[in-house]
C-alpha cells in the first residue's frame, strides 16, 4: 500500500522494535495509553518503563476496560485513543470495544502483541488470529513481523484512524519484531493512494440542495455525530439559523447544538421526542447531516419520510442510499459543505411549521415529561434524577452513559451547553461501556466534570474498573440508576412478551460496600427528600463518588416507537 510519508524527523536511530513503537507514539503526540500487559507484548512494556516521563500507561483491570477507556478518552479529547494488549485472550478481549468504536466512528489505534513469527499458525500458547478476527470490525489492520515495518505501519495507522470517517485500526506485532533491531526514523503519513478520506464537494449537488431547501415549506434537519467529528458545530448553527429550519438530533449528535437553542426540536428515534418523530412523516424536505439513518432512528423504513425529498450530507459515500433513498447527496466534510450550502440558501423562517413541533411538545410534556420529571409516585424516577443533575452541572458536564433505559432517559433529559459532551455506546449498544469510558473521558478532559450514569446491570459488567478509577484517582462521578432489573429488556417483556420476565430481575450486591473496597465513597438514595443533598455531596466530593439511586422497579421509558412500527406511530404510553 503506497503512502505519502512526510515530516521526516532527525536522522535514523539504531534501536529495537519495542522502543521504535513508543517513539512512533511520541511522534504522534500520544502521552496517555490504556492497556494490560502479557507475554507477547512484554518487550513493549519493558520499553515503556523508560518512557514513564512522556507516556502515561493506565493499567485497567480487563482489556475490555482498556478499550472502552480509550474510546471515552478519544471522544472527550478529540485525539486518537491508544490501547495495548497482549496476544490471544488479551487481543480478543478488545473485540467488543473495537466493534463499538467501528460503528460509532471513534478513532483508535489498538496495538496487540503476537507470538513470535516462527510460531504463527502453530496454535502456540496465547496465539489467536486477531488479524482475521478483527478484520470486519476495524477500519484497517496490519500484522507486523519485522521491526523495520513498525514506523510505516504506525504512521498509516494514525492517519487512517483519524482521517475521513474515523474508526479503529489494529496493529498486531509479533514478539520477535519487538526484539529485532532496526534503523529507526519516523515520517508521518499524509496520504495513502488507495484511500480518499474526504470526497470532494460537488457544487452542483450543493446548488440542487439549496434549491430544494429554498422552496421547502416544512423542512426538517436531522443531525448526527458527523457534526461533532467534523468540528462543524458553528457551521451547522449558522445553517439552521439562516434557514430557520427545526433540527432534531440522533443519540450521537446530542450536544452538537445546545439543548436550549430555539431550533433544537429534540431527539429522534425509538425513545426520542414526539414532535421530531411524528413530523418526520409530514416534512417536505429532510436534510440529514452526518448521520446514517440507523434503524433505531427510522423505525419501519417502508413508512419513513416517503413524502419528503431527502438531502444527505456525509463524508462516507457508502452511507448514501444505504438505508434511505436520497434525492440529493452532498458528499464531503460537513464543515465545508455546510458553509457552501449556507452561502446558497436564502434567509428564511418557518414559524407555522415550528409551531407544529411546539404543539407536539405540549402533548409530550403533559403525557410523558411532566409525570417523569415531577412524579406523584412514591418511587424516584430516572428523569427526576437527571433533572436534579442538570441543576448541579448547569449543562457544562460530560455525560457518559451505558445502554438501556437509563441511557435513553439521561440522553432525553440532560441539558447541554457544550458540544462533544455526550459519550455513549450508540450503534453497538454495549453494556459495560460506561464505567471505563467515563474514566477515559475524565483523563481526556481533566478540567471537565464527568458524570457516569449507569444501570445496575451494565455497572456489573465492568465494575472491576472501579479499581482503575481508584488507582488513577480520576474524579469520575458515578450514578447508578438502580431498578434491580435489566430494565429495557424487562420493558419489552412487559409490552411485547406478555410480562413474562424471563431472566431480567437482578439480586444486586451492596454497591456502596463494593465502592468502599475500592476506596470510593458512596451513598444509597431511596427517598426524594435525599436526592438533592446527596447529589450535592457527590458533586462537591474532590474525588470519585458513587450514588446508588433506587428508582421505580417497573418504570418504562416513553415515548416509544415499537420495533417494526413507523416513526409516526410513536406511543406516548
Amino acid at each position: 500500500m503506497e503512502a505519502v510519508l512526510t515530516k521526516a524527523i532527525t536522522k535514523a536511530i539504531e534501536t529495537q522494535g519495542a522502543d521504535a513503537l513508543l517513539r512512533c507514539l511520541r511522534a504522534e503526540d500520544v502521552d496517555l495509553i490504556f492497556g494490560y500487559p502479557g507475554g507477547a507484548i512484554m518487550p513493549v512494556y519493558d520499553a515503556l518503563y523508560s518512557y514513564q516521563e512522556s507516556i502515561r500507561h493506565v493499567l485497567t483491570r480487563h482489556e475490555q476496560g482498556a478499550i472502552h477507556a480509550a474510546q471515552g478518552y478519544a471522544r472527550a479529547s478529540g485525539k486518537v485513543g491508544v490501547v495495548m494488549a497482549t496476544s490471544g485472550p488479551g487481543a480478543t478481549n478488545l473485540i467488543t470495544g473495537i466493534a463499538d468504536a467501528m460503528i460509532d466512528s471513534t478513532p483508535l489505534v489498538c496495538i496487540t502483541g503476537q507470538v513470535g513469527s516462527p510460531l504463527l499458525g502453530t496454535d502456540a500458547f496465547q496465539e489467536t488470529d486477531i488479524i482475521s478476527i478483527s478484520m470486519p470490525v476495524t477500519k484497517w489492520n496490519f500484522q507486523v513481523t519485522r521491526a523495520a515495518e513498525i514506523p510505516e505501519a504506525l504512521a498509516k495507522a494514525f492517519f487512517i484512524a483519524k482521517n475521513g470517517r474515523p474508526g479503529p485500526v489494529l496493529i498486531d506485532i509479533t514478539k520477535d519484531a519487538q526484539f529485532e533491531a532496526l534503523s529507526f526514523s519516523y515520517n508521518k503519513c499524509s496520504s495513502i493512494r488507495s484511500y480518499r478520506p474526504v470526497p470532494p464537494i460537488d457544487m452542483s449537488c450543493v446548488e440542487s440542495a439549496a434549491r430544494l431547501i429554498n422552496s421547502a415549506q416544512k423542512p426538517l434537519v436531522l443531525f448526527g455525530q458527523g457534526v461533532i467529528l467534523g468540528h462543524a458545530e458553528q457551521a451547522f448553527k449558522a445553517f439552521i439559523e439562516k434557514t430557520g429550519i427545526p433540527a432534531a438530533w440522533t443519540l450521537l449528535g446530542l450536544s452538537a447544538l445546545p439543548t436550549d437553542h430555539p431550533l433544537n426540536v429534540g431527539m429522534l428515534g425509538m425513545h426520542g421526542n414526539y414532535g421530531p418523530n411524528k413530523l418526520t412523516n409530514e416534512c417536505d424536505v429532510l436534510i440529514a447531516v452526518g448521520m446514517r439513518f440507523d434503524d433505531r432512528v427510522t423505525g419501519n423504513l417502508s413508512k419513513y419520510a416517503k413524502q419528503a425529498k431527502v438531502i444527505h450530507l456525509d463524508i462516507d459515500p457508502s452511507e448514501i442510499n444505504k438505508n434511505v433513498a436520497v434525492d440529493v447527496p452532498v458528499l464531503g466534510d460537513c464543515r465545508e459543505s455546510l458553509v457552501a450550502l449556507t452561502d446558497k440558501v436564502k434567509r428564511n423562517s418557518h414559524p407555522v411549521w415550528l409551531e407544529a413541533f411546539r404543539e407536539c411538545d405540549k402533548i409530550e410534556m403533559e403525557k410523558v415529561i411532566q409525570p417523569e420529571l415531577y412524579p406523584n409516585s412514591k418511587d424516584l424516577t430516572m428523569g427526576e434524577v437527571i433533572k436534579e443533575v442538570n441543576y448541579f452541572t448547569k449543562g457544562e458536564a460530560i455525560l457518559v452513559t451505558d445502554v438501556g433505559q437509563h441511557q435513553m432517559v439521561a440522553c432525553r433529559y440532560t441539558a447541554f451547553k457544550k458540544s462533544n459532551s455526550n459519550i455513549t455506546s450508540g450503534g453497538l449498544g454495549t453494556m459495560g461501556f460506561c464505567l471505563p469510558a467515563a474514566l477515559g473521558a475524565k483523563l481526556g478532559a481533566p478540567n471537565r466534570e464527568v458524570i457516569a450514569v449507569i444501570g445496575d446491570g451494565g455497572f456489573q459488567m465492568t465494575l472491576q474498573e472501579l479499581g482503575t478509577i481508584f488507582q488513577t484517582g480520576a474524579a469520575v462521578k458515578i450514578i447508578i440508576l438502580n431498578n434491580q432489573f435489566l430494565g429495557m429488556v424487562r420493558q419489552w417483556q412487559q409490552l411485547f412478551f406478555d410480562k413474562r420476565y424471563s431472566s431480567t430481575e437482578l439480586m444486586n450486591p451492596d454497591f456502596i460496600k463494593i465502592a468502599e473496597g475500592f476506596g470510593i465513597e458512596g451513598m444509597v438514595v431511596e427517598d426524594r427528600k435525599d436526592l438533592s443533598s446527596s447529589l450535592k455531596e457527590m458533586m462537591e466530593a474532590p474525588g470519585s463518588y458513587l450514588l446508588d439511586i433506587r428508582v421505580g422497579k417497573e418504570d418504562n421509558v416513553f415515548p416509544m416507537v415499537p420495533a417494526g412500527a413507523s416513526v409516526s406511530e410513536i406511543r406516548l404510553a
Binding site: 503506497e2 482475521s132 478484520m135 499524509s190 459515500p317
Partner: protein, 187 residues
C-alpha cells in the same frame, strides 16, 4: 430483479485483503458465484473479478462498501452485456470410453474444445466459454466416463474505458502528491 453482475475491484496487493473483501459479502448473507484475482494492467495494482447474482440496488451498495476498504483503489460493477467474459473448464475422461468413433472429433469441432493431455487411462479436455457452454459440455461428457472436472471463476474485461481511466487518474494524483511532498522535504 436479480441477475448476474460482474464486480471489478482494483486493489493494493496485501495479505488479508481477500478476507476483507469476502466479509463485505458474508456479513450481508450473500453468496459469491465466482471470484478471480490476478495482477492488472496497471503495475502494482491487483484486480479482483467477482460474480454476484443479485439486484442492481444491492450491487450498487456493495461496490460502495468495497471502495470504503482502505486498500481498494476503485470498484465498479457491470452487467454481462457490458463485459467480455470467459470461464475455463477441464474435464478428465476415461480414454477407453471417450475414444469411441467420432466422439472426440465432435467435441473438438463443434465446441472448440481441445485435448490438453492424453495419459494411459484418461485424457483431459479443456473448454473455454461462458458458464452455460461449459455446463453443456459437462452434461454431454457425463455418459462417456467423466472421472473429474474443474471450472474456473469468471475473468472479465470491461467494455468501457472509464473505470481504468479513473483508476489511472487516482494513481496519478497520488503520485503528484508524493512528488510534491518529497520536494517539500528537500526544500
Amino acid at each position: 430483479m436479480k441477475k448476474d453482475f460482474t464486480i471489478t475491484a482494483f486493489t493494493e496487493n496485501h495479505i488479508g485483503l481477500l478476507n476483507r473483501i469476502t466479509s463485505v459479502f458474508t456479513r450481508r448473507h450473500l453468496n459469491i458465484e465466482s471470484l478471480n484475482t490476478s495482477e492488472s494492467q496497471v503495475p502494482g495494482i491487483h484486480r479482483f473479478t467477482i460474480v454476484l447474482h443479485s439486484t442492481e440496488e444491492m450491487v450498487k451498495k456493495l461496490v460502495l462498501q468495497l471502495e470504503k476498504q482502505i486498500e481498494i483503489v476503485k470498484a465498479v460493477y457491470h452487467t454481462d452485456e457490458e463485459t467480455v467474459f470467459q470461464e475455463i473448464s477441464l474435464f478428465k475422461v476415461l480414454v477407453e470410453r471417450a475414444s469411441q468413433p467420432n466422439l472426440i472429433e465432435r467435441i473438438i469441432r463443434d465446441r472448440n474444445a481441445r485435448i490438453l493431455s492424453v495419459e494411459k487411462d484418461f485424457m483431459v479436455i479443456e473448454n473455454t466459454g461462458h458458464k452455460e457452454e461449459n455446463q453443456e459440455l459437462l452434461s454431454f461428457l457425463k455418459p462417456f466416463g467423466l472421472i473429474d472436472y474443474v471450472k474456473s471463476g469468471r475473468v472479465a474485461l470491461i467494455k468501457e474505458d472509464k473505470p481504468l481511466k479513473e483508476l489511472r487518474k487516482i494513481l496519478a494524483s497520488s503520485k503528484k502528491e508524493k512528488i510534491a511532498s518529497e520536494s517539500n522535504e528537500n526544500n
